[in-house]
Symmetry: C2
Subunit: 338 residues, 2 copies
């Protein structure tokens, strides 16, 4: 059965060029993927005719459709306001296609808030889910650590945090191939009595569940491999995401410049390590961040996404659909309620 | 006039050796500093007789006193409980000396929670101060960014955040030599309407004040030089502190090992940059983190502090006292209230 993926072709700093090209590369790689590129028809057609993409076999090209949308929500716009005003915005149209059953997945590298708001507005939550959450995966040495939520829900109740743990565990299992994901609750100390009342209650819920809960973890544990899922509210998660990007950029950039100035030939020898470390804090590596908990598949990519990111996002969206992650989330939540 | 500094000689992973030696180096450097080393008398005396410190001139040695304390609060202990049980704990005795007017400052590299709790228990808050906050300074390129609070107060009201901005501005001005410190409110987006109700209200208070408020900032702005003070609640601040340490350690360690394996001679050439970057996320560089808002001077050092940290902490404690930072904080808060 084919998987239909709607791509917001106009979202992202490098849209539509890199977005269209990367999505097309994904379609080339997976013969069961049908793309719907949503946005300014002429621009998208131009991109599909560009030399980079021109080599697409007819068999691939015929799996790529275009759905015209005449407006774009810019990065700086207020999501709620822009969605109300711009009925023909590419991200809105893409999510509508999914809501209407024309696509199984949506991918966007545009305004994150607008993508989340469009999904929240146009899609139903999965049964029993209280709040959707954005999950971002960081590569850490030999493992992957998924942090949820990074910005959909900035004031979490204990039950929200608990459901995030369930949803990210299912995601880690089916998409990241982690057998029995270890779950940590982000806190300011290891003891169960640490933190706010909300966190103490969330700790109780997690400890009583059949999740592989390792207890409270701290900020540094994102990089220690202590757990595969870290649960926190969307405010803290957003700070983590931006701080990680900013700090790793700062350190890598400083060292790269120093090596370039003093030992350019040595830099070449460790270029691979620089690249790996850059990617560890760049969630495009894992094909974007899924919005977990909605009845649909929304993959949010970084604004700076390039073709590599988009190709990865197509892979993740495809697997998300193929492995029926949402069905497993619903089953897991239902089993916990009995 | 001499400045009397009580040092918790038993606090820290490298206590008492590095703690005593570093403090003694500070006393050697500043002839107006009188030390009171608090802890196990025999151990401290042994350290003062060690070859490293043995070269102290009699003039320096006579400015170093010992105050015996028979107990130590360990790193893993619950602060409140330990303070109640261990009446003769070195950190408790050190803060008592300050409360009784025998010392102007306390420095500890021991259990952070115990130091904060001892100060909260035994010292008065400064007039008008609602909650003390821990301020940690990060070196960022050519500037310094002080984050407050990093763990004293995990649930902040708008007025707490506002007062943190005032106190850290005064600290940055007098101790870090920043003329008119730029203050940012940590949030998940630049717009004034972002974040929780608490943050929106805090934004209002800051915008109406005469502080040099630059508006909302995000996690990456700790390293962009956009501001000199970042205000957040102690939960988020604690995550920032630990994530920064963990991530920078992870990146620097990985690159250092790669260079060592492939280009050991090149590593030598960029060793200085590695050291600088390590220190940027190691708050010992700025001589520890002051607990701002109490009627006294409490300097909290990292558990891993060595003699360099302790010497720096003596310098900061001395300047804190000399430049009458607390007096300026009180004046600034009073002027804002009229």
């Amino acid at each position: 059965m084919s998987i239909r993926i709607a791509v917001d072709a106009m979202g992202g700093d490098k849209a539509p060029g890199e977005i269209v090209r990367g999505a097309a590369l994904g379609a080339k790689e997976y013969s069961d993927v049908n793309l719907i590129l949503v946005g300014e028809e002429r621009l998208i057609e131009n991109e599909l005719r560009s030399p980079d993409v021109g080599s697409l076999a007819p068999e691939v090209r015929e799996r790529i459709g275009i759905h015209h949308a005449g407006e774009v929500i810019q990065m700086g716009e207020s999501p709620a306001l822009a969605l109300r005003k711009k009925k023909d915005a590419s991200i809105r149209r893409a999510v509508e296609l999914m809501a209407e059953g024309e696509a199984e997945c949506v991918i966007s590298a545009g305004n994150t808030g607008a993508t989340v708001a469009a999904c929240a507005l146009l899609l139903k939550p999965l049964p029993q889910v209280l709040r959707p959450g954005i999950a971002v995966s960081f590569l850490t040495g030999n493992s992957v650590c998924t942090v949820i939520d990074v910005g959909a829900n900035i004031q979490c109740k204990p039950a929200h945090l608990f459901q995030y743990a369930v949803m990210a565990s299912v995601f880690s299992h089916y998409i990241l191939d982690i057998e029995n994901p270890k779950v940590g609750l982000l806190n300011i100390g290891a003891e169960a009595a640490k933190g706010t009342e909300i966190l103490k209650k969330a700790h109780e819920l997690l400890a009583e569940s059949n999740l592989n809960f390792v207890g409270n973890v701290e900020g540094n544990d994102i990089h220690t491999g202590k757990c595969n899922v870290i649960v926190c509210d969307g405010f803290v998660g957003n700070v983590i995401l931006k701080l990680s990007e900013g700090l790793s950029f700062h350190i890598l950039d400083t060292l790269e410049k120093a090596l370039e100035a003093k030992r350019p030939e040595a830099l070449e020898d460790v270029r691979a390590e620089f690249d790996i470390l850059r990617r560890r804090n760049d969630y495009s590596e894992y094909g974007g961040a899924p919005l977990l908990g909605v009845d649909g598949i929304g993959i949010i990519c970084h604004g700076s996404s390039d073709r590599r990111t988009m190709r990865n996002a197509v892979r993740v969206a495809r697997e998300f659909s193929k492995f029926q992650v949402n069905k497993h989330i619903v089953a897991e939540l239902a089993s916990l309620n009995t």
